[in-house]
Symmetry: C2
Subunit: 111 residues, 2 copies
DNA sequence: CCTATAGTAAGCCAAATGGCTAACAATTCG
DNA sequence: CGAATTGTTAGCCATTTGGCTTACTATAGG
């Protein structure tokens, strides 16, 4: 399975920060301007901007300038590859757990 | 929803590295000793050890010393919270996309 | 035109990350 | 016992990260 993807690296890294996950959660509900996202955040504006850039760079968020505001919006598709990777792993180890369970049951039956 | 979890931070961070994802993929299939994991890796042993420690610290992998080998094994449960977070976000934005679709359909019907 | 608003750019800093080498255990096997 | 195998510890290094401040641009509104 595909693992050598810089895109997956960047998405996982983007989501490894609480601030960025909070941004994603807010944008999942609806698009927002930078200032709107900023209001409840305990950090300076330029710091928040950096986080938004990280989310943009990995494709999770798209932004556009409207007047003097910058509107940020989720791009759910960017999560497909990442999501698929997790699902695949789950499938593999679930299968392994099933085989182990079958094995244990088989042992018990033979007793 | 829960976002303030250092555990989620650590799991996402652990998975943001290609080497560590490769380790997870191999361990999803079966447990392995450090040396066995090391063989195909293009890096020094101590470097690999550090990656294994990262996976251990976030609970994704458990290890035990057996003779002079250290056996590493997946701990799938550690992914539950992370997986749940992703699933929740997907649910939220899918709902949003559905509402948007309904809205567009409604507009078309009125025409 | 002038001022307030909203965002950007540049640059500094401490801590964390991912890599290395060299030296040091701890087990196993002949 | 002595040597080979398998990790492990310690320490060095360059880069990245996430935070800050200060100064600047761009648009909206009076």
């Amino acid at each position: 399975m595909a693992n050598n993807s810089p895109a997956i690296d960047r998405v996982f890294h983007a989501l490894s920060d609480q601030t960025r996950r909070a941004i994603v959660m807010r944008l999942s509900a609806r698009p927002s301007a930078v200032g709107e996202l900023f209001t409840p955040m305990p950090m300076a504006l330029p710091t928040l901007l950096k986080h938004i850039r990280v989310l943009e760079d990995c494709g999770l968020v798209a932004t556009k300038k409207v007047g003097r505001e910058r509107i940020c919006e989720m791009q759910p598709d960017a999560l497909r590859a990442t999501d698929a990777w997790l699902a695949q792993q789950r499938a593999v180890w679930d299968a392994r757990l099933d085989r182990m369970e079958a094995y244990v049951l088989d042992l018990q039956t033979r007793e």
